[in-house]
């Protein structure tokens, strides 16, 4: 196991390094966006003096390298700076409550997004894997084809279309679930769940195809292996052959695809959030880009990058652990 621990530590260090590189890329990219906050808030009639004054207040007149390290230093300590928009409002109202900190602004939104992702994953992952196993078991049958057609058409349709179809059937024609997912901080879990279900179902439809098809392919890929033949020649039932003999050896590719889709659930949900008016991080991100609220944009990007890296890291480690050769060295 010491072996495995070394690998995990190595991967963690590498992940951190990747995040560092990504932070640089994010910073440069965001700062290369045309226009800036001062101009966008002051509008067309802005005098150069007013623009310069706001830029000075926000520190935008500093050279990029020093701004990057100031930002990075803060981010490492969990301080993502102050939101430009909130900060200027605070200036206007004269309050110093700290409501302008990016962290405070993002935290509840991020929690909402994570909740949505968790609910979607809890539905989509088991659903996709069971479908994949069944499709492999009844490969080339009507069931297999129907599953493939269904999942492929759902992944090929635009998300907003799926969302509206679900709203039509589950909220309008049969009012089972609410069409709008307005969520507040002091809601009970069951209420929250009910409001989240429709977006979660939409996301399930989006991510199932990928995971289900990988499960099916990874299993079928193994069916010609000698140990699968052996299991059949031991008189094991087809279901047992697949679940007990093929699936454990097909885990590595499945885990990787699941991780990519989980990352998508966190980072790629903007459209679904907009359709359901779900107060997640995606909406915040889009608004911030619109206002050139650079600290918020940067923080969101960093969170997305971290989610991707962390999930891929987890997938890597779990695929390694799924290999008995590494878990049980000679």
């Amino acid at each position: 196991m010491g072996n495995v621990l070394t690998i995990i530590l190595q991967r963690l260090a590498l992940g951190f390094l990747t995040l560092l590189v990504v932070s640089g890329v994010i910073f440069v990219a965001v700062n290369l966006l045309p226009g800036d906050f001062a101009q966008s808030i002051l509008g067309q009639g802005a005098t150069p003096e007013a623009v310069a004054s706001i830029r000075r207040d926000l520190g935008l007149d500093q050279p990029m390298v020093s701004r990057y390290f100031t930002w990075l230093g803060g981010a490492l300590q969990g301080d993502f700076g102050s939101s430009f928009a909130q900060a200027s409002f605070a200036n206007f109202t004269g309050s110093e409550s700290g409501a302008g900190s990016v962290a405070q602004q993002i935290a509840p939104r991020f929690a909402n997004t994570m909740f949505l992702a968790a609910v979607s994953a809890a539905i989509a992952v088991p659903f996709a894997i069971v479908l994949g196993v069944l499709a492999a078991l009844y490969r080339n049958s009507i069931f297999d084809r129907a599953t493939n057609i269904f999942t492929l058409s759902s992944i090929s349709s635009p998300e907003f279309f799926l969302a509206y179809v679900l709203i039509l059937f589950l909220a309008v024609l049969n009012p089972i679930l609410p069409a709008v997912s307005n969520i507040f901080a002091d809601m009970s879990f069951s209420e929250r769940l009910e409001k989240t279900l429709l977006p979660a179902l939409t996301l399930t439809l989006v991510v199932t195809a990928h995971m289900m098809r990988m499960t099916r392919a990874a299993i079928i890929n193994l069916l010609s292996s000698p140990y699968i033949e052996m299991a059949r020649l031991k008189g094991m039932s087809p279901l047992r052959v697949i679940v007990r003999h093929a699936l454990p050896n097909a885990l590595a590719p499945i885990i990787n695809v699941v991780a990519i889709n989980l990352a998508y659930l966190i980072t790629g949900v903007v459209v679904v959030e907009v359709v359901f008016v779900y107060p997640g991080i995606g909406q915040l991100f889009v608004d911030s880009v619109k206002f050139r609220d650079i600290p918020v944009v940067q923080a969101c990007c960093l969170i997305f990058a971290a989610a991707y890296i962390l999930l891929n890291l987890t997938a890597d480690i779990m695929s390694i652990l799924s290999n008995p050769r590494l878990r049980h060295p000679k």
Binding site: L233, K234, P248, N249
Partner: protein
């Protein structure tokens, strides 16, 4: 169920016809074979690869692989027609009354589960025994099969156990439900000779002890002679003949069977001793080598003289191929040096001149993977001709044609073919031509015949011998097959654990006194005498064969 009287056969296959699918058409693999097996009897099924042995063996279980179908005939197991039986009925028989032991236990054990979990799966799922009882029985079987640490070995994963032990564990697994019939599909082909002998004796004992009937599939006549009561010879999907083992060995009636028996008699005449003071073509001197931090070769020295064949013998992992990699410069030694014609060769092939590279060529074990499948035969051979000799255009074509003639393939017919259109033996000939194209003085033959059938292998050995005489080539012949050594070698180098344990002229090596390890290797090679294994066991005792004996040395 009432026990059927002993006169009814356990397996009755009549006029079975099996097709395999290639390129959307069904090609017959088995063309009407009959097979009858009585209870407790062991039937040996022999033939070349492609003869349909495994297909027939699996058909006796009512099973066909993907892309294979049974198109006619009948298969009865204990009165049950397996071809019309439902999948559920067959599943109930498989594992429980008919078991299978595969060629490669390493590939046929599921890498994700412990051995004992796989062992008990059959009994538990078939409702014969509980997990605990079955596991205890498994340990008892491991002990009977003389596996080391029978109490503990089941808790290991397949990759943690050696090939010979896995093969015995698989035999134990096949025995777990005490079946009436076991199909052994080349169970020792992938093993070293010293390991093979252990597995053979274990299988033979346990089959006799439980009076299990067996179909033993192999291409090795000497092995089948030890194991089977009766032998059936197959050739291209048809039966050649069937007889009792002794009758078959003493008096085969068919020409094909006689030719199989005769293969082992090829032996080239001995060459005169090398003059003292002659400079060897290749000389390894005190070579140490390692893969990363793992040392593989320790102080290896041997010479190869002009026009001679040095056979390097040893089991897998003994460092034979590593020595070859050092000579070619693919693996620079950590110490020691390699001399060519008395001059030191740079250790790394990248530092060698074209002339030096040209002198050392290789022929590989798997001709399938050593030849580029996208290139025509002409292109494959022309490449070294152009690279080393600088020939182009017509001269190149002429040289390639000449080479094809040397390996006894018609240039007009083969020049434009792809390797996928050739048989295994023909592919190996292309490998030889490619090595010859560089006009080397020294060729390393790495297990060049071990993937081939005996008749084909003999053809390759004769070709290599002829080329050696004509071109005065030197060979380093890496092999684990002592019959091959006997056929072609002038001198023998025996390796074990990265060291040379003994070396000398062939005649000396094959006559006593031997180094203990050489002795073990020689004595482990099965002979055609059906009493050979019994005699050897009586002479040496079970503890002095196989791994146990190796560990004592």
């Amino acid at each position: 169920m009432t026990q059927a009287p002993d006169t009814t056969p356990l397996v009755k296959i009549r006029d079975i016809r099996i097709d395999g699918r290639t390129d959307e058409t069904w090609i017959p693999i088995i063309k009407g074979v009959n097979l009858t097996l009585q209870r407790g009897q062991v039937l040996g099924l022999i033939g070349e690869s492609g003869a349909g042995k495994s297909t027939l063996g699996l058909a006796a279980m009512g099973y066909t692989r993907d892309g294979v179908r049974i198109s006619g005939g009948s298969v009865e197991f204990d009165g049950i027609d397996l071809l019309t039986a439902s999948a559920a009925v067959k599943r109930d028989l498989l594992g429980k009354r008919i078991a299978y032991v595969a060629q490669s236990a390493a590939a046929s054990f599921n890498p994700a589960h412990r051995l004992i979990d796989q062992h008990v799966e059959g009994p538990v799922q078939h409702g014969i025994a509980g997990r605990k009882d079955s596991a205890e029985d498994g340990i008892a079987l491991y002990r009977k099969l003389r596996l080391p640490n029978p109490e503990e070995i089941g808790f290991r994963y397949p990759h943690q156990v050696s090939g010979g032990q896995l093969q015995r564990a698989m035999t134990a697994m096949a025995m777990s439900c005490r079946p009436d019939l076991i199909i052994f599909d080349e169970p020792t082909t992938a093993l070293d000779v010293t390991t093979q002998i252990e597995v053979l004796s274990a299988i033979r004992d346990i089959v006799a002890q439980y009076n299990t009937a067996a179909i033993y599939i192999t291409h090795d006549l000497a092995v089948v002679a030890q194991m089977a009561d009766r032998i059936k010879v197959l050739l291209r999907g048809e039966e050649v003949e069937t007889a009792d083992t002794r009758t078959m060995l003493d008096a085969p009636t068919q020409d094909y069977t006689k030719s199989l028996w005769a293969v082992r008699s090829f032996e080239r005449p001995a060459k005169p001793a090398v003059q003292t003071g002659a400079v060897p073509v290749v000389s390894m001197q005190n070579v140490d080598a390692s893969y990363g931090k793992v040392p593989v070769l320790h102080d290896v020295s041997f010479d190869i003289h002009a026009g001679r064949t040095v056979a390097v013998v040893g089991e897998s992992g003994s460092g034979k191929s590593t020595a070859a990699r050092c000579i070619t410069g693919l693996l620079p030694p950590t110490s020691g040096q390699i001399l060519f014609d008395g001059k030191v060769l740079p250790a790394d092939y990248r530092k060698r001149s074209k002339g030096q590279l040209r002198q050392v060529q290789m022929i590989y074990q798997m001709a399938d993977t050593a030849l580029n499948p996208r290139m025509s035969i002409g292109q494959i051979i022309a490449r070294p001709v152009q690279f080393y000799l600088g020939l182009t255009g017509k001269a190149k074509r002429q040289r390639v044609d000449a080479l094809l003639e040397q390996i006894e393939l018609d240039p007009a017919e083969y020049y434009n073919r792809l390797t996928s259109e050739l048989s295994g033996g023909q592919k190996q000939r292309i490998g030889i031509a490619r090595a010859l194209a560089a006009e080397p003085r020294f060729i390393i033959c790495d297990e060049v015949t071990s993937a081939l059938d005996q008749l084909v292998a003999e053809g390759i050995l004769r070709l290599l011998a002829r080329l050696q005489d004509e071109l005065s080539l030197s060979y380093m012949f890496i092999t684990h097959d002592l019959a091959t050594v006997r056929a072609i070698a002038d001198e023998v180098v025996v390796m074990k654990d990265g060291r040379v344990v003994e070396q000398g002229p062939k005649a000396e090596m094959f006559s006593p006194p031997h180094h203990a390890y050489t002795d073990l290797l020689l004595s482990s090679v099965p002979e055609m005498d059906p009493d050979w294994l019994s005699n050897l066991l009586a002479e040496r005792g079970v503890d002095n064969i196989g791994d146990a004996a190796v560990n004592k040395i």
